[in-house]
């Protein structure tokens, strides 16, 4: 039901991706905020423009054409505030993942303790680790200096020592790094964040002040066994934003319009995922993956506790080449429904990385792109999982924990031509277990709503309630092993009008039970012995499900998915899975 907000703010949300700049317009429609239009254009933060506002102007011109609303004036500037005639904007929020990965160097005392905390401080940001220093470092000081020079760090993150605890060893390490920083090219003064022993804050500022812009935060490890990441992450976020304002042309002007901030996209998305995880609808947590051109982020949240992980340099565009380095090539080809030799896959990924904005032109090209997307998600998950809570409930430690909701975003998933393909990529790449709602984010709403929540939480909540995300349906994923063809579960779907469908889903199959948007049904899952759908091995359960997207997708392929060894069989099976969901 619409809520009377009494507000009439027109809101523009902008996201600068490394390949694409997106503009989303929100306004009050029938007393509640709604997404009223979106548009995109290539990002122009890099050469030859070196000015992100050029691409933004194109996106806004497109937005005006789509919505019929004027948001820029004759001088191509944002019209603020909105006039009584409905032209212009009241609020602008901006997010960005554009720009080269920030080169980060970590310093800590013990590799498994403070250095690990330093790594967790930067783990949710677009920072690429170029080196790390600790007491476990076997290099001599001379070598450490040469290593710093070779690494050319833009950001130093220093942790170590409990408050009032160790100091000399950390000071010695930082002294070496400080000396090395004298040798960095002029104009490349690093930024430094110190989040260690509070007693050393002044000393650190003194030691590093000549070679770096130093910020301090509360100790990430103030006492043994107690880690507080929040203050250091907040400070890092500000350092990162400041760095981006310096690096990317047009950002300073835009930040002025956007309340002084251009929030990192992953951070904004994480904020939205945290919000979702507090809703009663998602008691088992929310997982979001955003596969971008140059970066991939994973946000997992349980009851407001967010774990955000970013893999800078890994993506399906500019970051495609890096995906090759992470695993054997068969981790990509196994998702293809046809034979493709390793060299062709490598060529595809390398060409994608040099022409990141290109799009698939035929079905086989699309399967390649989506195979790469699955692989990128799996690689990003490998980084994200170790930082999740140890006792997260799930079927088995090596499998994905239970999640009530999974959201897929980014260019590859958002661009999937049919909802079934987006659902299939999420099921293949993440291999969830139990009952999970699947959403896709074709309009890149998650970061927009996250950023909007900072300045207008009501608007963010209302747009969320308007169900602007693409709801793909409910997935029932069975964990267990069986013989091909053997029934894994009996599924019964009873709609409110009594319409009933029952199906025995064989092991290895994907089955779709359509349920139209707006309809509700009672879903009864009866796994056979040896299989579980979230209630225990062989234990059945019933739940109410809302119709949307494909309806109910039953994934009886087991966890983890096992592929036939023979390539022809594997390809035929993958084609079958595609047909089952792509045609749904």
């Amino acid at each position: 039901m619409a809520i009377d907000t009494g507000a009439t703010d027109t809101i523009l949300a902008i996201d600068f991706g490394s390949a694409t700049t997106r503009a989303l317009l929100f306004d009050v429609v029938e007393s509640a905020y709604r997404l009223v239009g979106c548009a995109e254009a290539p990002t122009t933060a890099a050469a030859p423009y070196h000015d992100a506002s050029e691409g933004l102007r194109h996106a806004l011109a497109e937005l005006e054409a789509v919505t019929g609303r004027e948001v820029i004036n004759d001088e191509a500037r944002l019209m603020m505030p909105a006039g009584a005639d409905g032209r212009g904007l009241d609020v602008v929020v901006a997010t960005s993942s554009a720009g080269p990965a920030v080169r980060g160097l970590l310093v800590g005392l013990l590799p498994d303790v403070s250095l690990e905390s330093a790594r967790r401080i930067v783990g949710g940001s677009y920072v690429q680790l170029v080196d790390q220093f600790s007491l476990g470092d076997t290099r001599g000081q001379d070598q450490q200096i040469d290593a710093v020079i070779a690494a050319k760090p833009e950001l130093l993150v220093i942790a170590g020592g409990t408050d009032g605890g160790a100091s000399e060893a950390l000071l010695k390490l930082v002294e070496t790094i400080s000396l090395a920083c004298h040798l960095l090219p002029p104009g490349s003064k690093a930024k430094a964040l110190f989040a260690g022993n509070a007693d050393l804050q002044a000393r650190m500022s003194e030691m590093l002040g000549r070679v770096a812009l130093v910020r301090t935060a509360a100790n990430v490890l103030p006492a043994l066994g107690y880690e507080q990441l929040g203050p250091a992450r907040a400070e890092l976020g500000q350092l990162y934003e400041a760095l981006r304002l310096e690096q990317i042309g047009g950002f300073r002007d835009l930040a002025q319009a956007a309340g002084g901030r251009i929030v990192p996209t992953a951070q904004a998305e994480g904020y939205y995922v945290r919000f979702l995880s507090k809703l009663q609808a998602w008691p088992r947590g929310v997982l979001s993956v955003n596969v971008g051109s140059a970066n991939t982020s994973v946000a997992a949240a349980w009851n407001g506790e967010l774990h955000l992980s970013v893999r800078p340099g890994l993506g399906v565009g500019a970051g495609a080449a890096n995906a090759l380095a992470e695993s054997h090539i068969d981790q990509i080809t196994r998702w293809l429904p046809y034979a493709l030799d390793d060299e062709a896959v490598r060529a595809f990924a390398l060409n994608k990385s040099v022409h990141p904005a290109t799009v698939p032109v035929d079905a086989n090209d699309l399967w390649r792109e989506l195979a790469l997307a699955r692989h990128v998600i799996r690689v990003a998950m490998r980084k994200a999982r170790p930082d999740w809570p140890e006792r997260t409930p799930g079927p088995r430690p090596e499998l994905l924990p239970w999640f009530s909701l999974i959201v897929g975003g980014g260019a590859a998933l958002g661009r999937a031509p049919r909802p079934g393909l987006a659902a299939l990529v999420l099921l293949d790449a993440l291999q969830p277990a139990g009952v999970t709602r699947l959403w896709a984010d074709p309009y890149h709403l998650a970061p927009a709503l996250g950023a909007l929540a900072y300045v207008n939480p009501l608007a963010a909540a209302q747009v969320h309630d308007s169900q602007a995300m693409l709801d793909l349906g409910t997935a029932v994923s069975l964990v267990g092993r069986g013989r091909p063809g053997e029934t894994a579960a009996h599924i019964k779907l009873v709609e409110e009008d009594g319409a009933t469908r029952e199906v025995d889903v064989p092991y290895g199959a994907l089955e779709v039970l359509p349920l139209a948007r707006g309809r509700t049904a009672k879903l009864t899952i009866r796994p056979r012995a040896g299989f579980s759908a979230g209630a225990g091995l062989g234990r059945g359960h019933s739940l109410r499900v809302l119709g949307a997207g494909l309806g109910v997708i039953v994934d009886a392929r087991g966890r983890p998915i096992v592929f036939p060894r023979a390539p022809e069989q594997r390809q035929a099976l993958v084609q079958l899975w595609i047909d089952q969901l792509n045609g749904a």
Binding site: G99, L179, H182, H355, V359, L366, P417, R418
Partner: protein, 358 residues
Amino acid sequence: MPYLAPTAHVTLLATLRRERMLPLAGEVIVQPRQRVEAADVVAQTFLADRHYLVDVARKLGVPDEKADSALVKQDGDPVKAGEPIAVRKTALGLGRRAARSPADGRLVVAAGGKALVAAISRPFELRAGIPGQVVTVLQSRGVVIETTGALLEGVWGNGREDSAPLRLTSADPAAPLTADKVEMEWRGALLAAGTLADAAALRRLGEVRVRGLVVGGLGPALLPAARALDLPVLVVEGFGARGFSTPAWNLLTSNAGREAWLNAVAPDRFAGRQPELLIPLPSPGTAPLPPMEGQALAESRRVRVLRGPQTGRVGTVRTLSERPVLVASGLRLRAAQVALDGAAGVVDVPLANLEILE
């Protein structure tokens, strides 16, 4: 609605300006408006082979805070191996203790009881790379040189550069280069080869000491070897079995035998670095225009297809769709009707899969 497509330069003649920058601050030794040849040194600096951290306080036997007053060298001073950096007289002034430089080089910084010494065996000399006129001197950092010539941009480079006469390995723009075809007489030349997927051929090129390689398509498996090769490698079209596009091949064939500068920098979109082959040419009277940058895609523009069955084909834009159209992948995208060169006909290509050729 205009569309911002990327631009690739395959330019037969243009006025070109190129920054030549030192990796570290140093000395520029040319003047504005001075003419330079490709091999001329325009700036120099000192690049360290390695660094030494000298514990001055410990060598002198004093606390850290007292070591600085014993320094006899200042930051930036040249030092010889064994030369004192700091000296302290011992008790009663009868002896001396010294902290000495471990190598020939420079004292980078000395503070807090430590000294950082950069070991330098020889100065780093920055050459002009191209013949032309110095139009800007960037104090202590480098110069901007202006010349006229042909420009061929690529998509990947291995981070090296060199100048030499350009030579084609075949009359076929897509001919694969194999080890058995590598000739000794290619020594000292910048080679242009259609495709290269033979690791032995790459090794052989290093053995015969060619000065550089421009390749239309590089086999992906050769990427690590190409990266490690001690000569510049430029990939023009992309990875895999794709030869040169017709305009690129025409540029290469019309300039075969001419001195060329292969600057195979690793591409960096944010730093504005693109690997390229530049062939200096005399200007016919009035200076030609600089290459166009950042234009929107429009009718009559020359374009190259970046993806799909027509990859590498060149053509002319006939029309741009205002609204998205359905393509065979199932995506709905804005597309252009492109009349491909030759008898290849007219095809619809998503705008995102086109680059403007200039």
